[in-house]
Point group: C2
Chain length 191, copies 2
């Protein structure tokens, strides 16, 4: 997606260690117009998979998931990392390693909002190591629902996440696929 790639080149900053800072338009400040356009494009690509719900992880997944769910006209569910007082006692919970936090984080969802047999589209801001998305996949499977697609705004192809998800046999889409981050700041796209 041209619009997103252009913005990454303009306002993305490579901090070293594989970390691309996109805080200016995705992760701290959000360009709402760009985000809705990304959601519209993800919705267009996944409409043929007939998702009944969009599923993501808080925090950074919320904006792209909301935008995608809006254009698909389906509800959005975000997995929580901390249990709110409003959550029932019986929940689905999984652990997922966070390489930016250096420890495992919990991902949990209430069975009220993920039901057996539902067709689920997973959306996140990044597809990198794939660990967060694999955590979401485990929650969907625990609920006996079905993953029908996986979408991200930005993929870092060199972190291998896509290969880990391939066995699911569902379409995987990313709007900007980064194949290399160079120490001089250059950002290289896969296609």
């Amino acid at each position: 997606m041209h619009l997103l790639k252009e913005r990454i080149l303009k306002d993305g900053r490579y901090l070293g260690g594989g970390i691309l800072k996109v805080d200016a338009f995705i992760n701290h400040q959000v360009d709402a117009g760009l985000m809705m356009a990304c959601g519209q494009e993800l919705a267009r690509r996944f409409a043929p998979t007939r998702p009944e719900k969009v599923f993501t992880a808080e925090i950074s997944g919320i904006a792209p998931a909301l935008a995608t769910g809006y254009y698909l006209r389906v509800p959005v569910v975000f997995a929580r990392k901390h249990r709110p007082v409003t959550m029932p006692d019986q929940i689905f919970l999984t652990l997922t390693p966070s390489h930016t936090k250096g420890r495992e984080v919990e991902l949990m969802v209430s069975p009220e909002y993920l039901r057996a047999g539902e067709r689920i589209l997973i959306i996140d801001d990044f597809l990198a190591s794939g660990e967060t998305i694999l955590g979401l996949v485990r929650l969907v499977q625990a609920a006996q629902a079905e993953v029908v697609g996986i979408g991200a705004l930005i993929e870092k192809t060199f972190e291998g996440g896509r290969a880990k998800l391939a066995s699911l046999g569902v379409p995987i889409e990313a709007l900007a696929r980064i194949s290399a981050l160079h120490d001089d700041g250059r950002i290289e796209f896969a296609e």
Copy 2:
């Protein structure tokens, strides 16, 4: 706003202790269409204040802030509660009491995204005790920016937040104003 009030009556659940569960359409599962409609209405009400940016707090503020920022065509900034690795060393930080967590939480924002003189509209899901919004106000003031309005999806008028914010002299709007939550489950609106 009729649409939101109707949904609160249909899917909101009073859990006791002043806690209204809206996880079915706002805080865990999000009705994306309703959320965008709420953002459109908040944008309509605050357009005369000419905001240059929408400011909120993660996590539950992100969806309503994104929707409002989209219709106002301005960027959205969300204050972080945990410092990401991408944040610079010099930041604005404030502490705010969280009555659902029973302790203080940090709210922080990078000076990159909140600038002196900017006209800031604060948006959150709830206006209850007002403490989170007061924390956001302190961050805006630390950046020498200007709060021009405060908007929420739902206000619990009996928690007194509005009075704490009155001295700012800016418009305060909530789309559904709840004046009482009764132990038998009845939800009463202010107007």
